[in-house]
């Protein structure tokens, strides 16, 4: 089984965000491997360990995102590729997918794994767009996967909402986009991470494809604000004792208890 795992560096914390020149600029950014991508990566390694084969991690991002590839190598992927983001309109999920698809089509694979959505961009579509651009079937919100390499089939349990699951059978090659929390990504020791730093990471710079030039400047971030309050919360503060009493008073007043 040859599996490609699309993994993204995600912004998970910041002290302040600014918008300038069509992009977001975080102050004191804290980055990590996007959570559901990490679950997808763990799943890819489990499948490889069971059936043999090779796992290739691909990321699209700046130099800082080498960290997610080092982490992927430390977890056990066989090969790592970074796509240089220069010239790619990253606020446009179609272009992000086009760049990934451009690189993936040069590789050999039976399955492509990724997470359902990045916590920072919240696009929730890149995996599906990659699949479509490559002409592959996909399964959205995958929870469990059982490949059958002899029949080139994979059986997948996927979420369809309201607690329901669907079991589907898909012909390989296929794209699976995984939900978060489906497994416990294994621990990576400091030593493994140090060793991974010396492994080769290939960087690919894409030429100016028509998709990229066509969309440049067509979907810009022009401003930023705090999310609107749907309800205006009354803040209950003070010492824990005061908080407890005040809240209880409010609940009694409203006759909810």
């Amino acid at each position: 089984m040859r599996i490609i795992i699309c993994v993204k560096q995600a912004l998970v914390a910041y002290t302040e965000l600014k918008a300038a020149e069509g992009e977001l600029h975080p102050v004191d950014p804290v980055n990590a491997v996007n959570e559901c991508d990490l679950n997808a990566l763990e799943e890819a390694l489990l499948v490889r360990n069971k059936f043999g084969g090779q796992v290739t991690a691909v990321t699209l991002g700046p130099l800082t995102s080498l960290d997610v590839l080092i982490h992927s190598l430390a977890m056990g992927v066989d090969r790592a590729i970074r796509i240089n983001p220069e010239g790619i309109p990253l606020a446009n999920p179609f272009c992000v997918a086009a760049a990934l698809a451009d690189v993936i089509k040069t590789l050999e694979y039976d399955l492509i794994f990724t997470g359902v959505q990045a916590v920072d961009d919240m696009f929730c579509q890149v995996g599906i767009q990659v699949a479509e651009q490559l002409g592959l079937p996909h399964v959205f919100a995958a929870m469990r996967v059982e490949p059958d390499p002899s029949r080139q089939l994979v059986t997948v349990a996927k979420e369809i909402g309201e607690g329901l699951l669907e079991r589907v059978e898909v012909q390989m090659p296929a794209m699976l986009t995984f939900q978060s929390g489906i497994n416990q990504p294994h621990y990576v020791s400091v030593l493994k991470k140090m060793q991974a730093r010396s492994k080769a990471i290939q960087t690919v710079t894409l030429g100016d494809t028509s998709e990229m030039t066509q969309f440049r400047g067509k979907l810009k971030i022009v401003g930023i604000s705090r999310p609107k309050r749907v309800r205006t919360a009354q803040i209950i503060g003070g010492k824990p004792e005061d908080i407890a009493l005040k809240l209880l008073e409010k609940l009694t007043e409203a006759k909810v208890i």
């Binding site: 179609f94 920072d120 599906i128 699949a131 309201e162 607690g163 079991r167 209950i236 009694t252 909810v256």
Partner: protein, 332 residues
Amino acid sequence: MKHDAQDVWVFAETGPDGVKPISLALTSRGRELADTLGVGFSVVLMGQNLTTSANQLLTYGADCVLVADDAELQYFDGDLYAQILVNIVRERRPSFVLFGQTYKGMDTAAIVAAKLRMPLISNCVELQTKDGEVVIKRLMCNSTVVVNVQPVNLSPLLLSFPEVALRVGIAKMSQGGTIVPSEVKTLVRDVRIKLLEIVQPTNGDVDISKSDILVAAGAGIEKKENLKLVEALAEALGGTLACSRRLVDKGWLPTSRQVGLSGKTVKPKLYVACGISGAVEHIAGMIGSSMIVAINKDPKAPIFHYADYAIVADLNDVLPIMIETTKGKRIT
């Protein structure tokens, strides 16, 4: 009735109980947008036996309901649904297509986007139009921020809205709209995904949607032991313990306790969120609660935007005292 290119469209979903609430809310939103732009408004509906649902959508303001009603469409198949939608989009050329952010909505929208070689602008909360310019507000960074994005010459604009961004739909008097059956040209079906079975959720120990008071725990409780505290508060308040997806993922509670898009939709009189950050998927399941109390030590947590009472505090500090106080109050 005239149907021009430039219309606003909504992709609606139905279930056994008729049109899904999110689709009705989206239909109301689509109507408003069409009125602002001075264009027509159509709703696209797919599935089987859709007459009742189509009529329901007319009362929510659709000028036209484009219906693809076929036994082939009984079960959702993203490939097929998207192909039908793409065909009619190419034929009729709407300027906007709005999707509700559900599993089917997102699956369909993303395929449609790829086929039309367009971005899908997801997690939208607001849409502003002025002098022909459109500015879309969308959530980013774990719903902690709203960014304004400006699309330039993208048509159709494909937008998806999470449930939290939509108000409950308002039925209007029918304006004499029409139902237009859309030809489900027997698309040469290359079935790439074969449905084997639909697995029903295992009935847990309790039906949380029946409880008037829910006290829900999220990843912010940090340790499994702390679940006892949350449960004790639920007990003291005479309510039931619920949770966010995170705790089910960790295996700390069964799916039957889970609130949100992938779990249950609940509308209790009181919802106390303990250490829940407030991802849109969770909010979708509890926004209908009459009163929401949020306890979280992170003042930036999006859950506070949906709460009636906000308590910025460490759960370990406040929960034990809240439990004691509530118990004391009950006895007296």
